[in-house]
């Protein structure tokens, strides 16, 4: 779990370089909230705090949640998401190893549904508020800084552009577009990819799951891109925009809430990719990874059942 956190660091630093202090502050706040709440719950449940807090899973949950969160969301949004993820999703279902849903993702979805406006504020890449202003914004005073944080993500730009009946060739003239996907933000995706390769090399995660996830996403988007390239983004864009890379290496590889059979894992990855693409393309939200993960989370027991391997000599 420590190595997972390490693999996240380059991406987080790059994210902070592009989006400012908010990223670091959200990460620290999330870790603080998560470890505090985890300790309290462990104490109440009379589980040895030391062994269970230092296994690192809480920190990874907190980091993943903070990365999903908007860097300039108010602190209560952060706390609400962490509280829901750690207390309700993780511990109410029995604690480590027994949660049906991914706590980070469930916490993020909860926050997204509760505070949609606060979670949609992103600065323009490289043009972010100063440290003290960031603290004020996270403290809830964001109306004073409307211009500084009026940016849009590449996926939301794409979505609103398509809604306005524009062609992708027109939309991609927008300054938020870069070479592969979002200007600057494509670098973050590249670093998630690098972190994922590190985890594969260190044998923390297995290569099959990310490959199936990214492969499925690539194939679907290729089909639609080939069919109509003026309304469907390119496969490369699909992989490097939004949360695709993060999900491929860090979210759907979480074993507890995924299927546990070898074949089930692959179906889980493919299913998440399919649902993510559907929600992203035809849904109301700019990105669909989080919802896709939740949908597949509750399909996991079914996948386990359907994909039990045949034991040696079974007829």
């Amino acid at each position: 779990m420590l190595q997972v956190s390490i693999a996240l660091v380059p991406g987080i630093l790059c994210y902070a370089w592009i989006m400012g202090w908010g990223v670091i502050l959200q990460c620290l706040l999330a870790i603080l909230f998560a470890t505090t709440l985890e300790s309290i719950v462990l104490l109440i449940r009379r589980i040895p705090v030391k062994a269970f807090l230092f296994d690192g899973s809480t920190v990874v949950t907190a980091l993943l949640f903070a990365i999903c969160l908007s860097p300039y969301a108010p602190w209560w949004a952060n706390l609400a998401g962490i509280a829901f993820g750690v207390v309700v999703i993780k511990h109410c279902y029995g604690g480590l190893g027994q949660n049906i849903f991914n706590p980070a993702i469930a916490g993020y979805v909860f926050t997204l549904l509760c505070f949609p406006m606060e979670l949609s504020i992103y600065p323009d890449p490289g043009n972010y508020p100063g440290f003290l202003d960031t603290i004020r914004i996270i403290n809830g005073n964001f109306p004073h800084y409307p211009d500084a944080i009026a940016g849009a993500t590449v996926l939301s730009t794409l979505k609103s552009g398509l809604h306005d009946m524009k062609m992708i060739s027109e939309i991609s003239q927008s300054p938020v577009f870069g070479v592969l996907a979002g200007r600057s933000t494509e670098w973050i995706a590249a670093l998630w990819f690098a972190g994922g390769i590190f985890l594969i090399v260190r044998k923390i995660i297995k290569w099959q799951v990310p490959v199936v996830f990214l492969g499925t996403m690539f194939l679907i988007s290729l089909v639609f891109y080939w069919f109509d390239s003026s309304h469907y983004p390119s496969p490369v864009f699909t992989l490097f925009a939004g949360g695709s890379m993060l999900a491929a290496f860090f979210i759907i590889t979480e074993p507890v809430s995924s299927s546990t059979t070898p074949a089930g894992r692959l179906l889980f990855a493919a299913g998440t990719a399919i649902f993510a693409y559907i929600i992203r393309t035809w849904g109301n939200y700019p990105d669909g990874i989080a919802f896709a993960v939740l949908i597949m989370n509750f399909s996991a027991p079914l996948l386990d059942r359907l994909t039990r391997p045949r034991v040696l000599g079974e007829r």
Binding site: P48, A51, F52, D55, S57, G95, L96, G97, Q98, P255, V256, S258, T260, T261, P262, R265, D304, R308, P309, R310, V311, L312, G313, E314, R315
Partner: protein, 507 residues
């Protein structure tokens, strides 16, 4: 040389073998211990019935307990001496249960009872040869200790395609088969030919691990066209019966079935050596090779008499009691921890492993990482079995084939949460067996109760019937006569009494 294709089985582990600790030195013949403890049951099946009394003099090789039933073997005295006791003693058992044993106090002479070998076994009828194995008390010297003659007899009833002699010693540390092959290759090859004759197999393979080159070199010059030596990859648990069959034939033993159903019989090399002794010299199985290894000054192999206490073996290799040592009978993967050093070496004991107290990490919850499923040689889902055994979900456990588990310990070995998975499976198996047993018992007693009720009802009916019969069938005259007679008797009595009283008054 080897025309047999090598296949692979799912999962398994490449383990550090630690074989060189004990396989470089020749084996020692262990001196006589001060007592020999012989359990009446050293194998799967029924225990034997004792034939001797306390204080009786016995000789080496004498039958001191006779087999009870088909899946049972005689017990032989493994040295000469006096019977000191017949009673309950600790035996190698994972649950630490005591079992009936015969204890011999050796007289130090080690005198053999009259034994006689066979000159030409090829003239013998296979069944006679099998009986000879049975009379010599030969059970599998590998793991489960299945009585050898049962496997052989099943062999003559079905056509045997392939006989496999298993020289795959896949568990780390254990080298007793390796040493046995290097020191007595002629016994093994001759014994193999005898078993071959007893089962009338068409083909015979001796399977050996790649990392036993010395043993291979010892066997090669003795082999002919009749026996093929096949080297198999060193991967744990290669020596397990079903896994080895998969490796050698590419076929899986049907679940719930036995290798003989596929025309395959498998025996351990130790069994082959024992077969040779039994046939050519008439010696029953009284001793075996055993590896004493681990954290002790001089690990090596010993030739010990069956029934020698574990402590006696360990002390010869420089073992001295230290707190913090744990003693394992068997290998590090499948062996069982023993608390008591007085348990005897039995026919299936192949290793005494002394380890520093294992520093096992704290057991954490399962995170369903699936590493266990990747290494499981039976392709079970250990993580699911763990889940279901924690919740005693017996139906799910059966659905997920709990009873196919060979308890090889690969899953526990790779578990990042330090969960002793096999331990939970053993408990669950035990629980299910107990429950099935109590269900059978309950249904039996229910059946008995119903029978009893029926009988009672029947008897009551019969009684009532007889009373009714009397009152109905009794003719009025007879009845009258009966009453009349009774009245007459009463009257006579009264008269007699009055007369007595009268006489007393008169006096």
């Amino acid at each position: 040389m080897s025309s047999t294709d090598i296949h692979s089985f799912h999962g398994g582990l490449k383990l550090e073998t630690y074989k060189s600790l004990s396989n470089n030195l020749s084996s020692l013949i262990s001196p006589l211990p001060d007592k020999i403890i012989l359990p009446l049951k050293q194998h799967i099946g029924h225990p034997a019935n004792p034939l001797v009394k306390i204080g009786e003099q016995v000789y080496k090789g004498q039958i001191i307990a006779e087999p009870d039933g088909y899946v049972s073997l005689p017990v032989h005295a493994t040295t000469s001496g006096k019977i000191r006791d017949i009673g309950l003693y600790s035996v190698p058992d994972p649950l630490g249960i005591k079992a009936p044993c015969i204890v011999i106090e050796p007289d130090g002479m080690d005198t053999w009872i009259d034994i006689r070998g066979v000159d030409n076994y090829l003239e013998m009828d296979p069944v006679t040869l099998q009986n000879r194995f049975r009379d010599a008390g030969i059970s599998g010297l590998g793991g489960a200790g299945f009585p050898a003659h049962v496997k052989l007899k099943e062999g003559t009833q079905t056509e045997v395609e392939l006989l496999i002699i298993n020289a795959v010693e896949c568990e780390p540390y254990i080298t007793c088969d390796d040493r046995l092959i290097r020191e007595k290759p002629d016994y093994i090859v001759a014994g193999t030919r005898m078993i071959l004759h007893a089962v009338q197999a068409r083909k015979c393979i001796i399977a050996i691990e790649e990392d036993m080159p010395d043993a291979v070199n010892a066997l090669l010059p003795l082999l002919d066209d009749d026996i093929e030596l096949v080297k198999v990859p060193t991967i744990y648990p290669q020596g397990s019966e079903k896994q080895l069959i998969k490796t050698l034939t590419g076929k899986a033993v049907p679940s719930g079935g036995l290798p003989i159903h596929m025309g395959i019989v498998m025996h351990n090399v130790g069994t082959a050596a024992a077969a040779y002794r039994a046939v050519s010299r008439g010696e029953p199985l009284v001793s075996r090779y055993i590896t004493v290894t681990g954290c002790i000054p001089s690990p090596r192999n010993l030739q010990v008499l069956i029934g020698t206490p574990v402590r006696h073996c360990a002390e010869q290799c420089g073992y001295s009691e230290k707190s913090g040592n744990s003693i394992i009978l068997g290998g590090p993967m499948m062996g069982t921890l023993v608390q008591n050093m007085h348990v005897p070496v039995i026919k299936t004991t192949h290793c005494i492993l002394i380890r520093n107290k294992l520093n096992q990490g704290t057991e954490m919850p399962c995170i369903r990482c699936g590493n266990c499923a990747e290494v499981c040689p039976v392709e079970l889902l250990p993580q699911q079995l763990y889940w279901f055994s924690r919740s005693s979900d017996h139906n799910k456990l059966k659905q997920h084939h709990l009873f196919e588990c060979i308890e090889c310990g690969c899953c526990s070995y790779v578990c990042p949460s330090n969960i002793p998975l096999v331990h939970y499976y053993r408990l669950a198996k035990n629980e299910i067996n107990q429950r099935d047993l109590s269900i059978t018992k309950a249904s039996e007693s229910r059946y008995r109760y119903l029978k009893h009720q029926e009988r009672l009802k029947h008897e009551k009916k019969k009684k009532k019937l007889s009373v009714e019969q009397l009152s109905i069938s009794g003719k009025p005259n007879e009845k009258k006569a009966y009453i009349h007679e009774a009245v007459r008797r009463g009257r006579a009595k009264r008269v007699k009494k009055q007369q007595v009283r009268k006489d007393q008054k008169d006096e």
